[in-house]
Symmetry: C2
């Protein structure tokens, strides 16, 4: 099904050396697409050349920043698809340095859209949004009509980035949709620090044989998605014309952090965790429980998560055990 839509097609992926972008790049290359990845390789943002090792000779790797106007203007030309995944996702970094978050998540999104408008208005774009756009859930599960009251600067900036896409779809006819991602885990994540996502950080602690520290009661619920399921969703969103101008939640298995960690310990065959108090600056932006309704996306595309938790955890542990030094150095 995917092959006929992607074989021979030109696909551009911003943030293409990052966690989801690189997994998507590999998949697209395997489907026969002509893949160009853009990544700035800004330290600590998740880009890692090793991520695309399996396809490095089959894709075009362009190291540049999405804020770089002439680079983007050039690279969008002739592309059929743009998977627009560049952006920071750190809640706490966005509070500590709100201007950098704004530059990357607002300014760069406008740059990309202006480049498409001028040089390739026939392109289709899938934008990667985030559950952080909602802030604390006012009801569960959170559907796409839930108010957007972000509890950090990153969520506010991602809202703006997403809205630029919907606006350019509406006003200029540049086809675009947004998938609001939940907590995604799996191979190829940034593992040097926990600020891009805590689930993968837990996996590192287990591999390093360290005690996992969970903030608060550990009962806070997160939706979890294995990265391959998210990549499937992006491929489906891109090839479905009815997604244009629309926003969709992704979601998966709602679990408390303790449940996630206990499953991780079980799959690993050992490990320990402890509950510790929230650091103040994290407590202020903690969103409480989050469960997404992804019924809208399922109804339109048939997408459902396929990889269950234990399978996803086993694959993640296997990947990082084999490739750990490419992601972090052991103390």
């Amino acid at each position: 099904m995917f092959t006929e839509n992607y074989n021979g097609k030109n696909a551009l992926i911003t943030g293409g050396l990052g966690f989801i972008g690189s997994t998507l790049s590999i998949r697209l290359a395997e489907l026969g697409a002509k893949v160009t990845v853009i990544d700035s390789l800004i330290p600590e943002y998740g880009g890692n050349l090793f991520n695309v090792e399996p396809v490095k000779d089959r894709i075009r790797i362009n190291i540049s920043d999405v804020r770089d106007r002439s680079s983007i203007n050039y690279l969008v030309k002739g592309q059929d698809y743009l998977f627009n995944l560049a952006g920071t996702l750190s809640h706490i970094d966005s509070m500590r340095d709100p201007f950098t978050d704004l530059e990357i998540n607002c300014v760069s999104q406008l740059r990309i859209l202006e480049a498409c408008r001028e040089y390739n208005p026939g392109i289709k774009i899938v934008f990667a949004g985030t559950r952080g756009q909602y802030g604390r859930a006012q009801y569960l599960p959170v559907d796409e009509k839930h108010p957007l009251h972000s509890s950090d600067v990153n969520g506010i900036n991602n809202n703006a980035g997403e809205n630029y896409h919907l606006l350019y779809n509406e006003v200029y006819g540049i086809r675009a949709c947004s998938l609001r991602l939940t907590n995604t885990y799996g191979p190829r994540h940034e593992m040097k620090h926990p600020r891009q996502g805590v689930l993968n950080w837990f996996i590192r602690q287990i591999i390093d044989g360290l005690v996992i520290y969970i903030y608060g009661s550990g009962s806070q619920i997160r939706d979890t998605n294995y990265v391959d399921d998210v990549v499937d969703a992006m491929l489906l969103a891109m090839m479905t014309e009815a997604t244009n101008g629309e926003v969709f939640n992704l979601g998966g298995e709602p679990l408390s952090l303790v449940q996630f960690v206990e499953a991780l310990i079980e799959v690993n065959g050992g490990g320990k965790y402890e509950l510790v108090a929230f650091p103040g600056e994290l407590k202020a932006i903690e969103i409480g429980d989050y469960i997404a309704s992804y019924a809208k996306f399922t109804a339109l595309t048939g997408w459902e998560p396929k990889v269950d938790l234990k399978e996803g955890l086993a694959k993640s542990l296997e990947y990082y055990r084999a490739n750990g030094p490419n992601y972090w150095s052991r103390g």
Copy 2:
């Protein structure tokens, strides 16, 4: 009522030489406040030194840009109140030059909030939002729960600017609220071009003895507010602690553009209008009818518009007839 809240207090007004900012500055000076206005006097953005002529010796005028970090850091110190009105409001300019709109409406808002956080966290802020944040109305009247689907870049950026305020209120305890303004008219508006608001442009055409051109059928409905009523609302929002962290619509008399123009012609004792086709770039971002519900703000503060249309139009015509050359040169 206002005097006891403002007499002797330090009030900072960004965009304080603009339409609403200058009207507010005059009012605050008359109430005995120690007023500092910040304005960049960027051509065509509405700032005009003549606007504060009646109080120019009683207020402190600081020409600087809200994007100028050290200027803002210095000026927020010691202030009791910040009326945060700086920003562009042009729908069409924001589409033609989205990056400047982003700089002014997103970046500068973060600069101001960061300055408050660092140098004056005890300040209270009233932010001026806009009906443009809603985009096309999905139902009428539009209340504060209406989804925010801006139909131009300016609305998206104003959403981000507003949300930064609510976030800093919540996370850092910097008291802030937002008033979403509708179409405001009256003395002291930018009159050199119609891009900051069409109602005042109609007033200029009448004074110049020109035919008023109304785009489309002229039946599109706009809420109208006379500027003095908006200034009252800002004073009330500032002195009411229960507004903190909240968003409120302002609104007034819903009128079709034709009704507004016919009233203007009647009050003026003459004039003509013609209906003409929408220019394409304006049609794409036209929002259709808009009527606000301002019941939430009325319930909390008792605010209601006091100046009726004919009175407001008479005052506006009188002001611009007397002071016209300070606002535009006759052809």
